[in-house]
Amino acid sequence: MNLDFTDEDRAFRADVRTFLAEALPDDLRRKMVERRHLAKEDIVRWQRILNARGWAVPAWPVEWGGQPWTPTQRYIFQEEMALAHAPEGSPFNVNMIGPVIARFGTEEQKRRFLPRIANIDDWWCQGFSEPGAGSDLAALKTSAVRDGDDYVLNGQKIWTTQAQYADWMFALVRTDNTGKKQQGITFLLLEMKSPGITVRPIPSIDGISDLNEVFFDNVRVPVANRIGEEGRGWDYAKHLLGHERSGIARIGLSKERLAQLRQLRADLAARGMLTAAEQARLDRKLAEVAVELRALELTQLRVVAADAAGGGAAGAASILKIKGTELQQRMTELTLELAGPAGLGVPDHHGEGDGTDGWRAAAPLFYFTMRKVSIFGGSNEIQKNIIAKTMLGL
């Protein structure tokens, strides 16, 4: 047993760090540091810089732009990205639809879609949740009826993140009502500009309108845009949700945020804005976060090592997701506490020009927005159901 990275891994880390220091545009970095909302163009710009280096989609198969990295190297890459304040890219493109098409798509689909996904020539959104199908995703009702070489879609998706940006949606739709509800679900790719699609934004507590409803009114989708077999969409969706776990606890992100919290605390103290009691209390809370983060970091590294050896436990991703999101949310609480009342007058603005430090204005919105992380991707309660079943046999 040892906690040392190999010389090879260290050299790899140095390469990544050097590249990021040179390649990350300063304005993007500043936006990230100040927790400001990134525009679509920001994310696309950074993704294309990464893509030019060959690092946009490292976890994909090598023939489609992936890198032959070990789980440890993927972990290092993600950590360095976070520590450098680099944006994460579009998870829908990189972590979700890309891997599904690479695994289950036809050669024609791969050639058509994958290069454009990697470069975000097409922005993708995820059409899974419906008003009656959230945690119980398999209860989804949006219907797709075969008509010649097309499916005809009717129904509604909801909580569709960044549908307002999207050129394409990957969606789960119902093609059969007769069997078990998990059967009869089909995985389709649809163009957002297809006639009959309406996108309606849903204002959210963080002041961002990234959530949407998407309505389908006799939308025609070519059968050629179906992934795999009709009725097997549930299997493909499960693959998508369990795809990549070397970065699931987002250790690098939390490290960077903890470092920033310490910096903010020091700045406020230096400006005489914190009493001695407040400083002691904050230091204590930061120590608790540091301990939790260290425990999670070691646990993530254990999972990475097990995956590298080909024997990781199935439910481990759920543990990392729950504890990782709890920690991220805890840190947003501390940012909020540090900011004090300074961010109160900022209902929907993302940290620009209020006569106060950008981060203090952004702190409440950061706190509100991060409530989503324990809800999306399978809520933490659903993750606990998964652990209870797969790891405890309950």
Binding site: L3, L286, K384, M391, L394
Partner: protein
């Protein structure tokens, strides 16, 4: 980054695990606790036969030269069995002080007996009326008297202190804290043994002008704080591993109970509230396990990293042990409260481990004062 065991380590882990599984059921623990000295000589002899008592000592001294990982494996296995024999107190703590600070002559006179299970030592350091977690803020005094020393003070929570062949006593002397080898039968010593709430035997020791010759000094006058600092890091790492073993067994026992206990016509493990609680326990056990590994590996790190990572491990284990212990009792219901059932014993030992060598709050303060944790890897 490597979490695999060597072949030797795997063998050690299997050997101790098999010993605990075959020889140390809950009934063995109850029987050992009922013996006069509070643990079983027969079990102690078996532990000697397995080589466990020699594990941390250098090969040149007749031991096996085991390090942090080996000790972690042994302590985790002993924790799974709720072993009440004073392995941590006698071998790791008192034996560790001798190993770290003893002269060749002092070691030569004792190690063979310790490794064979024939010679028992106990560290008398904690005090009933002083600061709780300290290596140097002591009230026990050692004053020069002729060619030796006179020791006066009071010690508490001396593990297996009433059946020990020799005490190691910490005292403030000119030049700092000094450790002394003391015969518990010496004039001026009163030893009062009792059973701790965790089932482990402890003693209060009063020293009233106890004579210690010059050659009873362990490691040089004034070197005690440094020895104890290093020693407590090692033993803290060991206690953390023991807690992980206990928590692992408590979790398994609780999950089994959830699957078999029937109420409202179904196994109570079918209730989501209880499933999620069990998952919460399991996550704490896994985080704690990660910290036990960190603590064991930290022993080879430079001083600052070592100190802070071990503090982090003990802080995490303190919180996790409290949660897992409480919830193991809660999910068992009333049976969890009885002395006839092992969950209550696990809960009490976990509670004691938090209190020993600095509780979670103490170690969080250490980290807060240092301004956080150093990076690893």
């Amino acid at each position: 980054m490597d979490f695999d065991l060597t072949e030797e380590q795997r063998l050690l882990s299997e050997t101790v695990s098999r010993f605990v599984a075959d020889r140390y059921d809950f009934h063995s623990r109850l029987k050992a606790m009922a013996e006069e000295r509070g643990y079983s000589r027969a079990i102690w002899d078996q532990m000697a036969d397995l080589g466990l008592l020699g594990l941390p000592f250098a090969e040149g001294d007749g031991g096996f030269g085991g390090g942090g990982v080996e000790t972690m494996l042994v302590m985790e296995a002993l924790g799974r069995g709720l072993v009440v024999e004073p392995y941590a107190g006698a071998v790791l703590m008192a034996g560790g002080a001798l190993r770290l600070a003893g002269s060749p002559a002092q070691k030569a006179a004792r190690l063979e007996g310790i490794i064979a299970g024939q010679y028992l030592m106990a560290l008398a350091h904690s005090e009933p009326d002083g600061p709780r977690h300290t290596v140097d803020q002591l009230r026990t005094r050692g004053v020069v008297d002729g060619d030796g020393w006179r020791l006066t003070g009071a010690k508490t929570a001396v593990i297996a202190g009433d059946s020990t062949d020799e005490l190691i006593v910490s005292a403030v002397t000119p030049g700092g804290v000094t450790l002394f080898l003391v015969d518990p039968q010496a004039d001026g010593i009163a030893v009062q043994g009792r059973s701790g709430y965790d089932g482990c035997r402890v003693a209060d020791v009063r020293l009233d002008g106890v004579w210690a010759p010059a050659n009873a000094v362990l490691g040089g006058v004034g070197s005690g704080s440094a020895t104890l600092t290093r020693l407590f890091e090692e033993v803290t790492a060991a206690l953390v591993a023991e807690a992980v073993g206990i928590m692992t067994d408590a979790l398994n026992t609780t999950v089994d109970y959830l699957k078999t206990r029937s109420q409202f016509g179904v196994a109570i493990g079918s209730f989501q509230a209880l499933q999620h609680r069990a998952v919460d326990m399991m996550m704490q056990v896994e985080l704690a396990r990660s910290m036990a590994i960190l603590a064991a590996l930290s022993l080879e790190m430079p001083a600052v990293e070592r100190r802070l990572n071990i503090a982090a491990a003990k802080a995490k284990i303190g919180q996790a042990a409290r949660f897992v212990g409480q919830q193991a009792v809660q999910l068992h219901g009333a049976i969890g409260l009885t002395l006839e059932y092992k969950i209550g014993h696990a809960f009490k030992r976990l509670t004691a481990i938090d209190a020993l060598l600095g509780d979670a709050d103490h170690h969080l303060d250490v980290i807060a004062e240092a301004g956080g944790l150093p990076a690893i890897g």
